[in-house]
Amino acid sequence: MADDVDSPSSSEVEGTEDRYFYLSDQEDDIAENVLQDLEDGQQEDCSWSVSSVITKESLLAAQKVDLRKVMELLALSEHNARTLLIHYRWDVERVFELLEQKGKDRLFSEAGLTIVENKMIDLSSCCDPFTCSICFEEVSPTAVTEMDCGHYYCNECWTEHFIVKINDGQSRRIRCMAPKCNAICDEAIVRSLVSTRHPDIADRFERFLLESYIEDNNKVKWCPSVPHCGNAIRVVGDIYCELECICGKQFCFSCLSEAHSPCSCIMWERWKKKCHDESETVN
């Protein structure tokens, strides 16, 4: 093992690790595309080519493109489409693939999407006070909210639940409060209930949802620039490629370290380790 680290044999370079190489002719395309995106500027509905930069401003638009595709095909509301896409890591093609394989019901239930056509009771029409099964307090039916899954609790308890989950960093998948209920809460309800009491936490929730497009997405990564330029990069096709962000940072999309072709990621990692280890003895 130690030999490998110190002097990778040439056969290894040319042989087994071939698949980690990047084709140099592809790189030109990438550079061109980045440049073109630069020129296109704020054009929102540009078609994604090999790679594109997502700035803070275009993040929302980029997310909307994918959301709209799913909303249209499956006739879903935005929040349901988002729940589905977060679960399947924003891979629209995979969602459509799984739809054919598994069918709508399983696709939805595995993502925590519950759509109850006929709600059990009509809360607004009954006027008896309702006892919330969480705080055990009697509340007026107007202060009760029912989720898509059919479970209903008082607004105070829902709000408290949302705040705990948001503070816990679980904004993207806030589950219903009922035991063993897998349903994800409607983001519109989360937004409206939380913002009346804690606008700052509601803002944070909004940001988490937006950033999910980057963080729960295999094809999009934050630019690794330090200090961070605020941009993210999206690739189409092979994720083993090198890119340049509009901030000027060049990097490898796969391992996020500086561009290192034609060296493979693993070998680059070993090289850096070797340099680091040796620097201790050199000085």
Binding site: S133, I134, E160, H161, P179, C181
Partner: protein, 195 residues
């Protein structure tokens, strides 16, 4: 902030059918609503039968939106409970907690855990190994621990009797009263004084 009104309601509700459920909840030291103590009886037909297990319960400030912290005080030999410190490995006390669950349902789940160990997801690797490799030996050890630690209430009883007898009450009366108050010294003393 801790929902004190819910905790108080839970305390009242939780002790309503102690006889049949085998579960009870009480304040640990009388004033602090965040520190409770629960007991469960060992399920019939298990090596824990006949034992009474005390569980320390701490309520975080976010309760019931955060799970209660529970830990066995009584030492117990079980794959999902640490034989060292009583830490419990149970999903509903972690990520599967729901605010709609209560202290009572959590304690009932612990009781169910005693009946149905899950050695594939162990808290105590040594116990889990024994459970899987030598079940008979596991049952023997678990029963022995129940006898030694979970029935110590009767051992403690002798001490309580001695203490009250030293105060000048007749031993027969002390035993009878302690029996009636289920070993609660203070209540026994009150009864002895008033009677």
């Amino acid at each position: 902030m801790l929902d004190t009104s819910r905790v108080q309601k839970e305390l009242a509700e939780g002790n309503r059918d102690t006889e049949t459920s085998g579960v009870s909840i009480a304040l640990h030291d009388g004033a602090d609503l965040t520190h409770l103590s629960g007991t469960i009886t060992g399920p019939v037909g298990t090596p824990y039968e006949g034992g009474v297990f005390v569980i320390d319960i701490r309520l975080p400030s976010g309760y019931p939106f955060e799970p209660p912290k529970m830990q066995f005080v009584t030492r117990v030999w079980h794959p999902n409970i640490s034989s060292q410190n009583g830490a419990i490995c149970l999903d509903i006390l972690k990520d599967q907690w729901s605010p709609a669950l209560t202290l009572k349902t959590a304690l009932l789940s612990l009781q169910a855990l005693l009946s149905a160990p899950a050695p594939d997801d162990p808290q105590d690797a040594v116990v889990a190994q024994q459970y899987l490799r030598d079940y008979q030996k596991f049952v023997g050890t678990a029963r022995h621990w129940t006898e030694t630690f979970a029935k110590s209430a009767s051992v403690g009883m002798d001490e309580k009797v001695k203490k009250l007898v030293e105060m000048g009450f007749p031993e027969d009366a002390v035993r009878a009263v302690l029996e009636a108050t289920k070993g609660d010294e203070n209540m026994a003393l009150e009864k002895l004084c008033s009677g």
